[in-house]
C-alpha cells in the first residue's frame, strides 16, 4: 500500500480530532470528503502555526492511501495518510477570488446596492453575525455612540466554515423580507482569507447584490477584502464603522441641531413681528419728517434750477456773440472779395467800352465821309459850276417852274461866279417852249 503513488490533495478540514498518537480529520471539497490521518510527531515536525490545522482550514496535504486492518473494537478501513500538510496558499484562493470578482463586476453586480437610497435615520436595522462574536458587541457600542436606540433585529448565523455562506445568505433574505428592516449589517471579525472565504461565496454575493435593502458589510479588518465588500452598498472596516454607516445621522448632534433650529425659528418669528412693529411706529412719525425732507429737497432743486438758468443765459449770450462775430467776419470777407471781383469786372468792361467807342467813332467818321461825298455829289453849286443857273425869288427860294417865274415877275439868277437880276417876260418864254 505504501508503494502506491504519493499525491497532494486540497480541501477544507472538518471533524478534526486527536488521539494519543495520531490526528484525524476529513478533507472536504464541493464533491466529497476523504478521511485522513497523520502521526502527531510528523504533524509537530511540520511546524504549522498554532491551531493552523483545525475545522474550516483550507489545506494542501501530501501522502498516500492507508489501510487499517481493524481490531476487536474497530472495523477495517481505508484512509489517506498524510505525511505533509500545509495551509492552502493564499495565492490559490486569491486567484479564484479575483476570477469571481471580475465576473461579478462584469455583470454589473457591484453597482446595484450602491444605487439604493440609504435612510439617514432608520428605525429598524437587521444584523447578521455570529451570536457569540465580538462584532455584536462592537456594533451595539457604535450605535450607542451615534445616540441611536432603535430596534436591532439579530439574525445569527455561523460566519466561518462551509455552512456559513448559505446560512448568511438565508439570514439576509429573511431580514430583507421584513419591510420594517431599513438596512442590514453583515458583521464578522478579522481572520485569514480562508477564514473569511464564506463571504466570497458566489451565491451569497449574488443574493446581496440583488436585494432592495441596503447591505452594509463589516467583514474582517481593513486589510481584508472579501467579495461581499464589493457587492454591498457600503463596506466598512469594523463593526463600529458599520454602525455609523447604518445610521448616518449622529442622533445626539441632530437633537442639538433641532433645538437650535427651534430656537432660531422662535427668535425669527418674534423678531419679525417686533421689527415690523418698530418700523410701523417709525412710519407713523414719518409724514412730518418726510414733508420737511421734501421741502428741503425742493428748495435745493429751486436753487439749482435758478443757478442753471443763469448759467444758461450767460452761455447763450456768449454763444450769440461768438456767432455774430463769425457772421460779421464772413460778411466783411465776402464784401472785400466782391469788391475786388467788381473792380476786375469793371476794368474788363472799361477796356471793352473803350474798344467799342473807338470802333463806333471810326464807323461814324467813315459814314460822315461817305455822306459828305454823297452830299457833295448832289450840291447845286457843282451844277452851277458846270454852267447852269439857279432862279431864286426875292426871298432866296428857288423858282422851279415857268408859272412860278411868271408869278414872281422878277427873279434873281445865280451863277457859279455870282448872281444877276432878271425880269420875266411871259411872252418870250412861250415861243421857245413851243419851239
Amino acid at each position: 500500500m505504501r508503494r502506491r503513488a504519493r499525491v497532494s490533495l486540497i480541501g477544507e478540514v472538518t471533524g478534526f480530532s486527536r488521539s494519543r498518537t495520531q490526528a484525524y480529520f476529513e478533507l472536504r471539497d464541493t464533491e466529497g470528503a476523504v478521511p485522513c490521518v497523520i502521526w502527531l510527531n510528523e504533524l509537530e515536525r511540520l511546524d504549522l502555526p498554532k491551531g493552523g490545522l483545525r475545522d474550516g482550514a483550507e489545506v494542501v496535504i501530501g501522502g498516500g492511501p492507508n489501510y487499517y486492518r481493524g481490531s476487536a473494537q474497530a472495523s477495517p478501513s481505508f484512509s489517506f495518510r498524510a505525511t505533509h500538510v500545509r495551509l492552502a496558499g493564499e495565492g490559490d484562493l486569491l486567484a479564484r477570488l479575483e476570477a469571481l470578482r471580475e465576473q461579478l463586476r462584469a455583470e454589473g453586480l457591484f453597482e446595484l446596492q450602491k444605487q439604493l437610497p440609504r435612510p439617514r435615520l432608520p428605525k429598524t436595522i437587521g444584523v447578521v453575525t455570529a451570536e457569540a462574536g465580538a462584532a455584536r458587541r462592537d456594533l451595539l457600542t457604535g450605535l450607542q455612540r451615534r445616540g441611536w436606540a432603535g430596534t436591532v433585529v439579530w439574525a445569527f448565523a455561523p460566519v466561518q466554515d462551509r455552512r456559513a455562506a448559505p446560512a448568511v445568505a438565508a439570514a439576509i433574505q429573511e431580514l430583507a423580507a421584513r419591510p420594517v428592516v431599513e438596512a442590514i449589517v453583515v458583521a464578522r471579525g478579522g481572520g485569514s482569507l480562508a477564514d473569511l472565504w464564506a463571504f466570497c461565496d458566489e451565491t451569497l454575493c449574488r443574493t446581496v447584490a440583488m436585494l432592495r435593502v441596503p447591505v452594509i458589510s463589516a467583514v474582517g479588518h481593513e486589510r481584508d477584502s472579501t467579495l461581499i465588500d464589493d457587492v454591498a452598498a457600503v463596506a466598512c472596516s469594523t463593526p463600529t464603522h458599520a454602525a455609523e454607516a447604518a445610521v448616518p445621522l449622529d442622533c445626539d448632534e441632530a437633537r442639538a441641531g433641532l433645538e437650535r433650529c427651534a430656537a432660531a425659528l422662535r427668535r425669527t418669528g418674534e423678531g419679525a413681528v417686533g421689527a415690523r412693529t418698530r418700523h410701523l411706529v417709525a412710519l407713523a412719525r414719518g409724514p412730518a419728517r418726510a414733508l420737511r425732507r421734501e421741502r428741503i429737497a425742493l428748495n435745493q432743486k429751486t436753487r439749482e434750477i435758478r443757478a442753471a438758468a443763469q448759467r444758461g443765459v450767460a452761455e447763450r449770450v456768449s454763444f450769440q456773440r461768438r456767432i455774430a462775430l463769425v457772421v460779421l467776419d464772413r460778411t466783411a470777407r465776402r464784401a472785400v472779395t466782391g469788391a475786388a471781383s467788381a473792380a476786375t469786372t469793371n476794368r474788363r468792361r472799361s477796356v471793352a467800352l473803350d474798344r467799342s467807342a473807338s470802333a463806333a467813332l471810326r464807323r461814324r467818321r467813315d459814314g460822315l465821309r461817305r455822306a459828305a461825298m454823297a452830299l457833295r455829289a448832289h450840291d447845286p453849286e457843282r451844277t452851277l459850276e458846270r454852267g447852269y443857273a439857279l432862279a431864286e425869288d426875292t426871298a432866296g427860294e428857288p423858282v422851279t417852274s415857268a408859272a412860278a417865274a411868271i408869278a414872281a415877275g422878277h427873279v434873281r439868277l445865280r451863277f457859279a461866279d455870282g448872281g444877276v437880276g432878271a425880269k420875266i417876260d411871259p411872252e418870250g418864254g412861250g415861243d421857245e417852249r413851243a419851239a
Binding site: P119, R120, L121, P122, K123, L140, L143, Q144, G147, W148, A149, G150, T151, V152, V153, W154, A155, F156, A171, E174, L175, R178, V180, V247, L249, C251, A254, R255, L258, C261, A262, A264, L265, R266, T268, G269, A272, V273, R276
Partner: protein
Amino acid sequence: MSEPPESYESAVERLEQIIDRLDSGQAGLRETLDLCREGRDLVTYCSAELDAVGEGLQELRLDELAARLEQPAEPRQS
C-alpha cells in the same frame, strides 16, 4: 402640519431651506410667519423621529420580529 414629510431626510432638507430663507431677510411678514409655523411643525416631526430611536435600544431575534409583526400593533415597551 398641512402634509407630513416623506422622510426625516426630506424634513431636514425643507427645514434648512426655511432657515436659509428666513436668514436672507427677504421674506415678508406673512411669509415669515408661515415659514415659522411650517418650521415648527417640521421640528416637531423630526423630534418625534429622533424620539422613536431614542427611547432605548430594543433587540429582537428574527422569529420575535416575525411574531410581533403578525400581532396587532401594541404600545412599544423599552
